[in-house]
């Protein structure tokens, strides 16, 4: 509810200013099978996850954030 996202440009800001960009995945995959997994089979870990956040109500830059999905702790 109250997590703060460390924006690369603005520093820590309330998550309500951001658009969630989901788990960080590679842009492309070598073949169709791998691409299917890339798009539809996210890791969805119970623990630290690399993810992307867009500071939509701020500087409009994307940041990579490591968030623990169990505790919402970000680093």
């Amino acid at each position: 509810m109250a997590i703060e996202i460390p924006c690369a440009h603005c520093g820590p800001r309330p998550y309500t200013e951001f658009r969630f960009g989901g788990e960080l995945r590679p842009l492309d995959a070598p073949d169709a099978e791998a691409d299917f997994a890339r798009v539809f089979l996210p890791e969805n870990p119970a623990g630290p996850q690399e993810e992307r956040w867009f500071h939509a109500l701020g500087c409009r830059t994307w940041s990579a954030v490591t968030r623990d999905t169990r505790t919402n702790g970000v680093g």
Binding site: M1, A2, I3, E4, R19, G21, L27, D28, A29, A32, D35, F36, R38, V39, F40, R52, F54, A56, R60, T61, W62, R70, T71, N72, G73
Partner: protein, 867 residues
């Protein structure tokens, strides 16, 4: 001094009175009726923990009367019972107790089906904690965000101590309490100490004291919302100190909810703080030293003590004249009708009855640790004082009320156990024990104690949260929260307006919400607006479109990778229709891409998709490490679409250069000056006529619009809104993304493979389209002609399409075409083994049939829009 209004009469109060003490002094004994069995409930805990004194105060239901200070003219009512709380005929349900087992609703009203309809009305009337006000709150709660180094929850001795120490260490401190400071503390040394600490703490500038502010939960972050009258304070502390203290233990024995049975602190406060004797003749059960202090307070107020039950260790500390001392005595049963009349104390197997009208129970402390248990492991949440103390729950008796809020007895728990609910968590869910307003403050420990006794000791090899007798999970809210608090800071919807808003209003337009904007739907007669576009000339405010400038050395790389069509062959001054796909190959948005002579691109997106388009462009640029700049000009630029056979004539009248097929070609654009306003004129085909979108600086919008309308009068210009646009674009077979499409539509399903170039090196969604290319397209969007449609063709929007009674599709858009004088539409259809159907029945409209036809319906070769 003053008086409160209580159920139609005045009740006077003195300084320091709570609503509960004023009413009690006035002779009120029944404060509420229990939820199911309508048993009389009276003052019990006196510390804001139990549900017994929940009254409606000034229209707010479920206010703890024992914690609410009196104010002159306050309106107080007891919401329970029928016809009144005092004489409640529904009390009859108490004698039917055995006929109303746990899960009564679900077991009893299954058949016949209609029974529940009737029963529900009766049950809803008979239960509940009051009525919500029929209107919205007169005032809105505001929300405040506050940062602090430390938030101390609970302003008792431990909390005030912790606040003082933190401030001395240089920390900024907020200390909150749900009640006025000291309102839940028994008189004597404890209260004196809190008063002294309060004076000290209030004088320290680094400490903010928020009494009357209830912490309702601990959320990750950390964040602790504090609910108060007319405000919600969202505190973001570095650490939280939970100093919520402890409630006195709620013991379970038959008759434990009779009026006249009090927890020690409640009785002591009534006698010692408010000066009202809680009863005349008392039995006191003092399991701790605190109980002996309460005994003193009661004796000093003139209560006669019939008996005192104490453990051996305290036996010689009972003062003379305290009636019979029963060493190691426990309460076996309490008896009474409307209120307590006698108590049976037992020692071993030997029982003795004492006549009394007051039973005071002080058996030790049950820490209020609910808030702290909401914290995740590793979070900076610390329990101090009594809240951190040990549990000292005595074993349950042979029957009695476990859960005061939900009226659950030990008998009910046994029955649930016998039905197979053999774990504290599922006993809770099945019987609703701990799920009432007190959130387990009274009954939580009795419940786990029951599960423990039945199960033996908790199994060591079971993970703690799943152990049968583990404490049930603590979740927010810890205290009742009003809807007003939940709605704090929820504002009206914000509608974006274009620069032409006032012009539309002055023209009498009907404005409504669309894609986050307030837009004109019609200026009166949408069919006339339609005809203006098809036959004469018209203007439409399209300033809502997403508008972007993309520049920098890698601008061409970004657009090439972003869009599935070729962009490398787009010459300066030319535009191209672009789809935008996500990684799964699904169509997210569409727009026009304009190649500007200086190497930059100008891009438009749909009105509702602008924010997402911005995010997606920047995402791709970032992930590909491209050297580009994306400038969102949506709010900076306005746009007016000038459409119709005379569109060019109108523009030429207002421009100093010719607007012909070479200066503004199709599909292309040019920067021109119209009516003195610098414009980027973009040729478009959405409405199917000769059309120019004039993108211009927002501030110049009104003058441009007014010049167009003024000069357009020569061709009887009418502005058009979204109603006319709906038919204009439908006749051209153009889809509205979101209305005609589904979330998983690929270009092939929409019949738009022409907008995809699979021989490109790479674009977003390309791999997915490669994968899908090997699969047959089993669903697609098609044009429909509707035969036998109802007079208002729009009625069939959304109707299922059937073949042989089976649903194989759905109508997404439908309207009567004015140009063709036929009912037309768009819809999706699914293929069967025999291929795609060509004729379908329209469900819900007898006799209506849909034929699949090619689109566009109107001007299929696009001769008019090339003009």
């Amino acid at each position: 001094m003053g008086s409160i209004r209580f159920e139609g009469r005045d009740v006077s109060f003195t300084d320091g009175d709570t609503v509960a003490s004023a009413l009690f002094r006035d002779g009120v004994r029944t404060f509420s009726r229990s939820l199911k069995y309508h048993r009389r409930r009276a003052l019990y805990c006196g510390t804001g923990d139990c549900p017994n004194c929940l009254l409606t105060v000034d229209g707010t239901p479920a206010v703890h009367a024992c914690q609410a200070p009196c104010a002159d003219g306050m309106e107080v009512v007891r919401p329970h019972g029928w016809p009144s709380t005092e004489r409640d005929l529904l009390h009859v349900t108490d004698s039917l107790h055995r006929l109303m087992p746990v899960g009564f609703y679900y077991k009893t009203f299954i058949t016949p089906r209609f029974a529940w309809e009737i029963a529900e009305k009766m049950i809803r009337r008979a239960t509940g904690l009051g009525a919500l006000p029929p209107t919205t709150a007169a005032e809105r709660s505001v929300v405040r965000y506050v940062r602090a180094d430390v938030l101390v929850v609970g302003a008792g001795a431990a909390g005030l101590d912790a606040a003082r120490d933190a401030a001395a260490a240089g920390e900024r401190v907020i200390v909150c309490d749900e009640s006025p400071i000291g309102a839940a503390i028994a008189p004597g040394a404890a209260l004196d100490r809190v008063r002294a600490l309060e004076a000290e703490v209030r004088a320290i500038p680094e400490i903010t004291v928020l009494d009357g502010h209830t912490a309702v939960g601990i959320y990750e972050g950390l964040e602790v919302p504090l609910v108060a009258d007319r405000e919600l304070v969202r505190v973001h502390p570095e650490r939280v100190v939970v100093a919520t203290g402890a409630a006195e233990i709620h013991p379970v024995f038959p008759g434990n909810d009779l009026p006249g049975v009090w927890l020690g602190r409640g009785a002591a406060r009534m006698a010692g703080v408010h000066g009202v004797r809680p009863g005349d003749v008392a039995v006191v059960v003092a399991g701790t030293e605190e109980g002996l202090a309460h005994l003193e307070t009661l004796r000093a107020s003139g209560v006669r003590i019939a008996a005192v039950a104490v453990p051996t260790a305290l036996a010689d500390r009972v003062p003379e004249g305290s009636g019979e001392v029963v060493v190691d005595g426990v309460v076996h049963e309490a008896h009474g009708g409307k209120s307590l009349s006698s108590v049976v104390l037992r020692r071993g197997t030997e029982g003795k009855r004492f006549d009394c009208d007051l039973l005071v129970l002080s058996l030790g402390l049950a820490p209020r640790d609910g808030l702290a248990r909401m914290a995740l492991p590793g979070e900076a949440v610390e329990l101090v004082g009594d809240a951190a103390g040990p549990d000292a729950t005595p074993p349950n008796g042979h029957d009695g009320t476990v859960c005061l809020c939900e009226d659950v007895s030990l008998h009910d728990l046994r029955q649930a156990w016998d039905e197979g609910f053999r774990n504290a968590e599922i006993l809770k869910r099945y019987t609703t024990t701990t799920m009432g307003p007190c959130q387990g403050a009274m009954c939580g420990r009795a419940l786990t104690c029951f599960a423990r006794d039945r199960n033996g000791a908790p199994a060591g090899d079971v993970a703690a949260p799943f152990a049968a007798a583990a404490r049930t999970t603590a979740r927010p809210p810890a205290r009742p929260v009003t809807l007003e608090s939940l709605a704090a800071a929820v504002h009206e919807l914000i509608d974006k307006r274009t620069s032409l808003h006032d012009v539309h209003v002055a023209a009498g337009a009907r404005l409504d919400r669309s894609g986050g904007w307030l837009r004109p739907f019609t200026y009166g007669d949408w069919r006339d607006e339609y005809r203006a576009v098809r036959e004469r000339v018209s203007v439409m405010d399209v300033g809502t479109l997403g508008k972007f400038t993309i520049g920098g050395p890698d601008a061409s790389m970004l657009v090439d990778r972003m869009f599935p069509c070729r962009t490398d062959d787009l010459a300066a001054g030319r535009t191209r229709y672009v789809l935008s796909l996500d990684e799964a190959g699904y169509v997210m948005d569409d727009g026009l891409l304009c190649a500007v002579a200086d190497g930059t691109y100008y891009l438009t997106s749909t009105s509702g998709g602008a924010a997402r388009a911005d995010a997606r462009l920047r995402d791709l640029a970032d992930r590909m490490s491209l050297d580009v700049h994306v400038l969102d000009r949506t709010a900076q630029w306005g746009a007016i679409n000038v459409a119709g056979p005379h569109a060019r004539d109108l523009l030429e009248r207002l421009s100093d250069v010719p607007i012909d097929a070479s200066s503004v070609p199709y599909p292309g654009f040019a920067d021109v000056t119209v009516a003195g306003v610098p414009c980027r004129a973009v040729r478009t085909g959405f409405v199917g006529e000769l059309a120019f979108e004039l993108h211009h600086p927002r501030s110049r919008g009104p003058e441009l619009w007014e010049a167009l309308v003024r000069e357009g009068a020569a061709w009887d210009l009418r502005p058009h809104g979204l109603d006319a646009l709906e038919l204009l674009r439908l006749e051209k077979g153009h889809v509205y993304l979101g209305q005609d499409t589904m979330p998983d539509d690929t270009p092939a399903k929409l019949g738009m493979s022409w907008a995809v170039s699979m021989d490109k090196e790479w674009f977003v969604g390309m791999r997915a389209l490669e994968r899908l290319a090997e699969l047959p397209v089993t669903r697609k969007l098609v044009g429909l002609e509707l035969d036998g449609a109802p007079a208002d063709v729009a009625d069939v929007r959304g109707a299922p399409l059937l073949v042989g009674g089976a649903m194989v599709g759905r109508v997404t858009s439908a309207e009567r075409s004015i140009a063709l004088d036929r009912a037309i539409g768009l819809g999706w259809v699914r293929a069967s083994d025999a291929g795609f159907p060509s004729v379908l029945d329209v469900s819900g409209h007898a006799g209506a049939r849909a034929r699949v036809v090619p689109t566009p319906f109107y001007d299929p070769n696009g001769e008019r829009l090339r003009g």
